[in-house]
Structure formats: structure tokens, C-alpha cells
């Protein structure tokens, strides 16, 4: 999750990285109460890049010009993104501009410090000049000093610049950041330093353990923070709006592989739904119910311990400290039926949501390829059959005049009679069970005829 410039600068200010006096502008009218002396620079607060070139950064010398410029900027989309906030900032005379960054390198599995004397707009052209220091062990200021010297700095700048790098690194580890970047770090004639722009990206997985950041990110906008939803184990991604195929898979790798296969045949997919870890993140009291599970693989043979209530509800007493290991059994089935039922329900609902959504009006076929131990092919068939029989199931008749069809990749160790029997039971529901992935793909494409065939 990327912070906007003014949010990044709020963090800089907290830790002592020098920033200019600035004021947040939510509305052009706010400029009437501007507390910074003119001239000021008005900057569009968007996450997309290239705002300078697009006209999202303007210098103004008086209130009238400022209000006009602000109005323009609020209506100026930068690569499709409109600003909700503008940052008004004092002007600064920079003699030089440096580039500094701290990021995590996948290749060496360590944080790296980056810096260059060729900062500002020139940085990309001079990308070869960016110096790198890998923080191999626990951080200590000498790493920052090494960067400053690699950058070619001398005299007092060594200490002042490395001080800023240290502070950036401190932010990086304190808040689980993916990136901290200052470009440009302005250097005045006297050697004074100022962070003219800042970019901070927070790691999405870590965000929940930083209430301060969550606060910062959602503060004052009125709209709740757009956090990745963790309630549903299914993640939906839009692809081609006119696509006729929806793909449902377990795991991002399998989703990509399945999409690749469809693409290889020239088919366009409207969207893909990916099942993440197929077990919810917390056991609720109702999950712990002993049963054989809805399917059992014939190769598995485990003894089940029976108990009929969740541990907490039973108020199971802790064992005597003296006894070695009383087998107070924790009731736990091989496959928890309730967990499976929840997943099947999520699957059904997620697919229904897609079909009923106005965003995917041209879908005529859904290809389901789910592999795993918890939710089996039979569970998937059950979910889709329920979907087809439910009242909420609407055909996409409005646009295509045809019923949505389902191709389910059958990946089961059950004998072939089971699949054959199931296909018969499905009757004339538009559900096709296919063993082989390549065949499932060609079947899907055959079912999704071009619209012109109507």
C-alpha cells in the first residue's frame, strides 16, 4: 500500500527527516487560509507517477492564482487517478538534488540502501550511477556512511546525508516498509538538506500490525481504508471486460497456468477468482465438529478421536500437573465438515456475485480448476449444482440469450464410476465434468461461442 506524499512526509517529520512547511488542501477554498508565505508550490497528491509532466505541480505567487491552479489540479487525472488532496508547500532553492532510497532486495534477501548525487528528474537517465549497500547484518550507522562515501560525498555531507539514510532505515524497519524513497533530497548552497518529495510503501501483509499507519492512511478522508479483504478466501481479479470466460482456481500459480492455456487458444477471460489458503484463519467454536468429512481419500486411514463439543465450550479441565500425558482428546475430524461447508458457500457466493455483476456481462462459461485436500472436486460439483438450482441464479440472457455453463475440472482419486455417476445425477444442469486440464480448456472455449453466432 503506497502512502501519498503528504502522508510519507508526516512520517518523515515524526522521525526528524527535514521537510518544508506545508499545508494540506482538501478544497480550493482552503487556500484562503494558507499559512505559508508565497510563493508556494501546489502538488497533486496521487499515487501514480509523472505528475510533474502532467501539470500536477504548479508554482503560484498569490491567492487568486493559487485557487485557480488548485481547481485545475483537482480536475486533472494523472494516469487515471484524481487527487482528493493537494499539498501546498513552501518553495525551496536547491543547488543540488540527490536520490536516496531504502528497499528490500529479493535477490539477496536483505534490505539495501541506495543513493546517487544525480537526483531529481535526472535520476532515471543516470540510473547507472545509483550506488547500493546491502545491509547484511543488523543495521548500524556505518552502513549509511558507506553509502554516502560510495555516492562520492565528502566533508560534512557524509554525516548529514548518512543521518538521513539512518532515519529512513529506521522508518523502514519500524513500519515494515517495502520502500522509502526521497527524490529529490535537495541540498542548499550552505549544505542544508531538505526532502522535497517522499515515497513510502507499506508491506500489505504487515499493515495490520501498524495501527499508527492505518490511522495515517485513513485519516480525514471520510472513506474507510481500502484494506485487502481477508474475510473471503477468494480473490477476484478483473481481466478483459468483454471476456466470455470466468476462471476459478486454487492458488495464483494454477490460475496463471490456466489463463495461459486459455490465451494460447486465443480465448479472452473476463476475470479470475483465486482461492487462497483454503482454511479460514481462525477456528470458531462451530468448526470443531467431528465427522468423517464429506469425502475421504481412499488412501488415507487415520483414527479419529471422538468428542462432541469444542474445547472451550466444554470447559475441558487442564490435566493434573503430575500426570504425564492424559489423552484428553481434542475432537478433530480428518476434514472439518464445517470448514468445507464454509468454503463451498464462499465459492458459490463468489461465483454468483460475478455472474450478477454488471462488470462481467458477457460471461457465458465458468471454468473451475481447484486442486487440494480440503475442498475436493466433489465439493466443487456440489457448490456449482447448488448455485444452478438456487433462486438467485440468473442467466445472462439479457445480453447473450444463453445460460451460463460450467466446466469443472475433475481431479479426484475416486474411481471413474464416481464421476460418471455424478454426471448422470447432474441431469440437464449445464455442468460438465472433465478429467484433463487441456480438454477442460478446449471444452470451455467450445462452449463460449462468439457472440456473432446468435
Amino acid at each position: 500500500m503506497e502512502l501519498l506524499e503528504y502522508q510519507a512526509k508526516a512520517l518523515f517529520s515524526e522521525i526528524g527527516i527535514p521537510i518544508l512547511p506545508s499545508q494540506r488542501i482538501d478544497n480550493p477554498r482552503d487556500l484562503k487560509g494558507l499559512k505559508i508565505p508565497y510563493p508556494v508550490v501546489l502538488k497533486s497528491q496521487v499515487r501514480t507517477g509523472g505528475r510533474g509532466k502532467a501539470g500536477g505541480v504548479r508554482f503560484v505567487a498569490n491567492t487568486i492564482d493559487a485557487v485557480a491552479a488548485a481547481q485545475t489540479i483537482f480536475h486533472l487525472p494523472i494516469l487515471g487517478e484524481y487527487p482528493d488532496v493537494i499539498l501546498a508547500e513552501a518553495k525551496y532553492d536547491a543547488e543540488r538534488e540527490f536520490y536516496l532510497a531504502v528497499m528490500l532486495s529479493r535477490s539477496v534477501s536483505r534490505p539495501v540502501l541506495l543513493g546517487s548525487q544525480h537526483g531529481g528528474l535526472r535520476v532515471e537517465a543516470a540510473a547507472d550511477e545509483i550506488q547500493q549497500v546491502v545491509v547484511e547484518y543488523d543495521f548500524s550507522p556505518f552502513y549509511a556512511r558507506r553509502l554516502a562515501i560510495k555516492m562520492g560525498l565528502t566533508g560534512t555531507l557524509i554525516e548529514t546525508v548518512s543521518d538521513i539514510v539512518e532515519k529512513m532505515f529506521h522508518l523502514f524497519v519500524t513500519y515494515d516498509l517495502d520502500l522509502v524513497e526521497i527524490n529529490p533530497l535537495a541540498v542548499s548552497v550552505n549544505g542544508g538538506l531538505m526532502a522535497l518529495d517522499g515515497k513510502v510503501t507499506v508491506n500489505d501483509d504487515a499493515l495490520e500490525r501498524h495501527p499508527h499507519l492505518i490511522n495515517l492512511l485513513s485519516g480525514g478522508h471520510g472513506s474507510p481504508l481500502d484494506m485487502p479483504k481477508r474475510e473471503s478466501p477468494f480473490k477476484l481479479k478483473a481481466l478483459q471486460p468483454n471476456g466470455q470466460i470466468a476462471v476459478v482456481c486454487s492458488g495464483s500459480g494454477l490460475t496463471m497456468a490456466t489463463l495461459d492455456l486459455l490465451s494460447q487458444h486465443g480465448a479472452e477471460s473476463a476475470c479470475c477468482l483465486t482461492l487462497g489458503r483454503s482454511v479460514p484463519t481462525a477456528l470458531s467454536n462451530t468448526d470443531v465438529i467431528p465427522t468423517q468429512g464429506s469425502t475421504t481419500s481412499t488412501s488415507l486411514n487415520t483414527t479419529l478421536t471422538n468428542g462432541s463439543s469444542p474445547l472451550t465450550e466444554l470447559g475441558v479441565n487442564p490435566p493434573d500437573p503430575g500426570s504425564s500425558h492424559p489423552a484428553i482428546p481434542v475432537p478433530m475430524p480428518l476434514v472439518m465438515t464445517n470448514v468445507v461447508n464454509q468454503l463451498v458457500e464462499h465459492l458459490r457466493q463468489s461465483i454468483l456475485d460475478i455472474l450478477q455483476s454488471g462488470d462481467y456481462r458477457y460471461i457465458t462459461v465458468v471454468l473451475v480448476n481447484i486442486l487440494g485436500s480440503v475442498i475436493t472436486s466433489q465439493d466443487v460439483v456440489q457448490a456449482i449444482a447448488d448455485l444452478c438450482n438456487s433462486n438467485g441464479f440468473k442467466t445472462n440472457g439479457a445480453h447473450t440469450g444463453r445460460t451460463t455453463k460450467f466446466v469443472i475440472r475433475w481431479a479426484s482419486s475416486q474411481p471413474p464410476e464416481v464421476k460418471a455417476e455424478l454426471q448422470i445425477q447432474l441431469g440437464d444442469l449445464p455442468i460438465y465434468l472433465v478429467d484433463d486440464l487441456d480438454e477442460a480448456v478446449t471444452k470451455t472455449i467450445a462452449l463460449a461461442q462468439p457472440l456473432t453466432d446468435l
Binding site: R106, V123, K199, N203, G276, V279, V316, I328, P329
Partner: protein, 310 residues
């Protein structure tokens, strides 16, 4: 490294839903799951698996432990791993998804200093069909054989295993190394292990877009791996965009570095970049999972020819 049916295995976070689901499945595959740790559940049992509050209590009761499989929730997983390493466990398989990368960096510093093998996080773990399963691989898709499988993904690994099993090509071992930005062990490390593994004759590498792991693997295979390798890359037709820890500037910089050092002009992390690296290293690459068995059979045939008397 001790990965066999005799390995004594601990489950940390055994009372997390994932742990409680897969613990019994692992046991049923032949894994010697000797104990579980879940603070607060000490003194109870999951089926036959005794549960303790601390790793040290488990070791005191059971004896030494070779491997731990960690299902502990993301913000507590680093602590669980450090506890295991402190108690002398030298093989960790971390199944947990969503561990902050800086936690992993901390873990790797300790793991490297203690020569501890870490697999994952966010991975299905390891399976040696017929002998043991550490993690979440569905045993029904696997069958014993001579093909070693190394992959970044979970379900896609099962897909490839299924293709191989159906073609009569069983697997010696399958390792999911995880696809997070910071992982405990890399493609080159596992390629080396499989190159030395007696049971493995051919290696299948399953990669995907993002990062530079496959490019590094291709270089390593050309330099150091003797056994034949077959590859497959998922995500050829998917656009990846900017990585999380990049700005526009850093993206440009990494592209410049890549085109300077590598022979490829393709953007780092893309399918083109990986396919080019594999081609350069002369590694046969399948265009779809179903093509993998044919390439493996071809590799096995040429191995046979090599060992025929002149």
C-alpha cells in the same frame, strides 16, 4: 539434512486450523509426527499427537526433533521459528502465509548463522511420496518415482505432479519453496540437493512470473547441475506491472542492471526474461503442464543412452 520416513517431526501451531487439518493428513502419509506445540493447549492431544506449550517441553518428553512444520499465524511465526532454532531444530518448513518480509529477513540471518534449512514461507512444503509429507501437499496426486519437483507455487505443483503421475512418471520428492519475496531456500539450493539425491534422475522446475529466481536457477543449472532439468513457467500471458518495493526509478534501474549483466533485454521478472534465461542455458521448457511428461521421458531416454556400454 534428514528427510526420510524416520525423521521426527514437530508441528508448531498444531491447533491453528491449517495445522489441525493437515497434521493428521501428514501422519497418514507416514510422517512421524511426534508432537505438536500450541501455547495454551499443552496437555491435550490431537488424535495421537501430544500437544505442548513450549518446544522445549516437547523435546524433553519425546527426545530430539529433526524437523518442524510451522502453521503459526503470520505475526507470531518468526517467534515460533526462533524458538525452534534455539532448541536445536535445524530444519523448518513454514507453511504460514502473510509473514511480513522483514520478519523473514531476521529469521534468515539467524538461520544462516546456525546452518538451519528453512523452506517457505507460504508454501505447501515437502512430500516424498510413500514416505513423508511435511505441509499441505495432497498425497493423492503423487506417486513414488524418480522425478524431482521444485516449484514456487502450491496448486500448480499439484497439477504438474498429477500430469506426471498419470503419465507413469512418479516423483522422488516435491518441494514447494514458496513465492513470497523473501524465502528461506532458493531454486539453486534445492537444485543442488536434488542433483545429489540418489532417488532423483530428472528434475522438473516449476516457476512463475515475478522476481529473478528462475533466471538465477537457469544460470546455476548451466554451471553446476549435471542431471537433466525440464522447466515450465506460468504467467506468460499475464502482465505483472511494478513490484511492491519498487518505484518507477528503481524499476528503470533494475532493468538497466539486468540488461548489462545478463544477455537478455527483457524486463526483470517477466516471463520473457525467464524463458530467455532458460533457453540460453539450454533447458527444455514446456509450454503447458501437459507437455512436461514428454520432455521428462525424453530426458530419461537420453540418460539411458548415456549409460549404455559403447
Amino acid at each position: 539434512m534428514n528427510l526420510s520416513a524416520d525423521s521426527k517431526v514437530l508441528l508448531q501451531g498444531v491447533m491453528e486450523p491449517l495445522g489441525a487439518t493437515y497434521g493428521p493428513i501428514m501422519r497418514a502419509c507416514g510422517t512421524q509426527v511426534v508432537a505438536g506445540v500450541s501455547p495454551g493447549y499443552g496437555g491435550h492431544c490431537l488424535g495421537d499427537i501430544p500437544i505442548f506449550d513450549l518446544v522445549e517441553q516437547a523435546i524433553a518428553a519425546i527426545g530430539s526433533i529433526d524437523t518442524t512444520v510451522i502453521f503459526v499465524e503470520p505475526y507470531l511465526a518468526l517467534d515460533a521459528a526462533l524458538e525452534a532454532i534455539t532448541m536445536g531444530i535445524r530444519q523448518l518448513v513454514i507453511v504460514t502465509e502473510g509473514i511480513p518480509p522483514l520478519d523473514m529477513v531476521q529469521l534468515l540471518r539467524v538461520a544462516e548463522a546456525t546452518e538451519t534449512l528453512v523452506v517457505g514461507p507460504n508454501c505447501p512444503g515437502i512430500i516424498i511420496p510413500g514416505q513423508l509429507m511435511l505441509g499441505t501437499h495432497p498425497p493423492e496426486f503423487y506417486t513414488p518415482g524418480c522425478v524431482g519437483l521444485i516449484s514456487r507455487s502450491s496448486s500448480l505443483t499439484y497439477e504438474v505432479a498429477l500430469e506426471l503421475s498419470q503419465a507413469g512418471l512418479g516423483q522422488s520428492i516435491s518441494i514447494g519453496i514458496g513465492s513470497d519475496a523473501i524465502i528461506g531456500s532458493s531454486f539453486p539450493q534445492w537444485l543442488q540437493i536434488l542433483d545429489e539425491d540418489d532417488r532423483t534422475e530428472v528434475i522438473v522446475l516449476v516457476g512463475e512470473v515475478g522476481g529473478d529466481g528462475e533466471e538465477a536457477a537457469a544460470r546455476y543449472i548451466a554451471e553446476a547441475i549435471d542431471k537433466p532439468v525440464v522447466a515450465y513457467i506460468a504467467g506468460r500471458t499475464v502482465s505483472i506491472g511494478k513490484q511492491a518495493s519498487q518505484s518507477d526509478t528503481l524499476m528503470v534501474m533494475s532493468q538497466r542492471l539486468e540488461s548489462k549483466t545478463g544477455k537478455t533485454r527483457a524486463e526483470l521478472g517477466t516471463a520473457e526474461s525467464k524463458l530467455a534465461a532458460l533457453k540460453h542455458a539450454r533447458i527444455p521448457t514446456a509450454r503447458r503442464p501437459s507437455e512436461i511428461p514428454a520432455l521428462v521421458k525424453k530426458a530419461l531416454k537420453s540418460l539411458e543412452k548415456q549409460s549404455e556400454p559403447v
